[in-house]
Symmetry: C2
Subunit: 172 residues, 2 copies
C-alpha cells in the first residue's frame, strides 16, 4: 500500500461535508491531537457517509470513559451507526490516524465499512497490515478496501511525542 | 480444550454472587435465550468480579441498539468496567456461550480479563480456538486463561434452533 493509491483521497471534500479547509484525515489528526491533550493515546477517527457527509468524529476515550473498547474507531462506528439508523454502515468510509488493532478490524468488518483509510502502521498492535491481518482471513466475512500510509508521518509524530512525554523524555 | 479442564467451574457459585441455583454459564445461557427472543443471534455473557460478584450480564443487542459492536461480550465488558471504575478489569472472569469473535477477543485482551470460559466452538467466526487465534499472537499483549466447551451442547442447540427458525425450517 503506498501513497500513490490514495492521492485522490487527500483532496479537500465538498464544503457541506467536513470542514472545507481540511481533508478527512486532517480532521482525524485533529481528533488525535485533542485525545493526546486529554491524556489518551493520540489516535483519531472520522466516519463519512455514502455522499461524504460527516457521520462522526472522535479520538480515543478509553481513560475518560473507563471503557477498554473506547478506541476512536469503535466510538465513531457506534455513533455513526446510531445516526445512520442501521448496524450496517453500507457505503460509509472510515479514516483513522493509526492502523486499526485486531478489535477494531473486527468491528470495521461487522459494520460493513466500504473503505478504510489509515495513517501510521502499527507493527506492535495493528491487525490490518500487521499481526492477524484480519481482512485476509477466512473468518473475516466483509473486507473493506484498505488504503494505508495517509498523513502517516504526522500521525506517527503525534504518537512518538506522546510516549516520549509520558516517559519524561526531555526532547519531547 | 476439553470438559475435564473446567469441571470445577461448573459448580454453583456462592449465594451472594449470581443466582444460587445457576452456574455463571447457565446465567449466560439465559441471556442467550432472551437475546434469541428479541431476534438477536442467541449469545449471552456474564462478567464476574474478583470475588465472584456479578458485574454485568447481557445478550447480543446488535439489532436493538443499531450497534455493530453490541456483542454480548462487549456489552458486559463496557458495563463491568464502568461499575469496576477502571478500563482494566483485573482479576475479573468472563463467561460467554459462544467462542468470542476476533473483535471480542481483542476487547477481552484490552480489558485484562483473567479467565475466559466459553461454550460452543465457532469455526466460522471465532477468534480464540479458531480463525486468528488472537491470544496466541505476538500482537496480543494480555492473554486470559481460556476454558472452552462449557455447556457447549446447550449453547450450540440455541444457535442451531435460532438459525433453523430464521430459515423457516419446519423442524425448528
Amino acid at each position: 500500500m503506498n501513497e500513490k493509491n490514495i492521492a485522490s483521497h487527500n483532496a479537500s471534500p465538498s464544503p457541506d461535508s467536513v470542514s472545507p479547509a481540511l481533508t478527512p484525515m486532517e480532521e482525524a489528526l485533529q481528533e488525535a491531537q485533542k485525545a493526546g491533550k486529554r491524556g489518551e493515546v493520540p489516535v483519531g477517527a472520522v466516519l463519512l457517509g455514502p455522499t461524504g457527509e460527516l457521520l462522526a468524529r472522535s479520538g480515543n476515550r478509553i481513560v475518560e470513559l473507563k471503557d477498554p473498547t473506547a478506541h476512536a474507531e469503535i466510538l465513531v462506528l457506534r455513533e455513526g451507526a446510531s445516526k445512520f439508523g442501521s448496524e450496517r454502515l453500507l457505503e460509509c468510509d472510515l479514516y483513522v490516524t493509526l492502523e486499526p488493532c485486531t478489535m477494531c478490524a473486527g468491528a470495521i468488518s461487522f459494520a460493513r465499512i466500504r473503505r478504510l483509510y489509515f495513517g501510521a502502521d502499527d507493527p506492535k498492535g495493528g491487525g490490518v497490515e500487521n499481526g492477524v491481518r484480519f481482512f485476509d482471513q477466512p473468518t473475516c466475512h466483509h473486507r473493506p478496501d484498505v488504503y494505508g500510509g495517509i498523513c502517516a508521518q504526522e500521525a506517527s509524530h503525534l504518537l512518538k511525542d506522546f510516549f516520549a512525554a509520558r516517559r519524561g523524555d526531555p526532547r519531547a
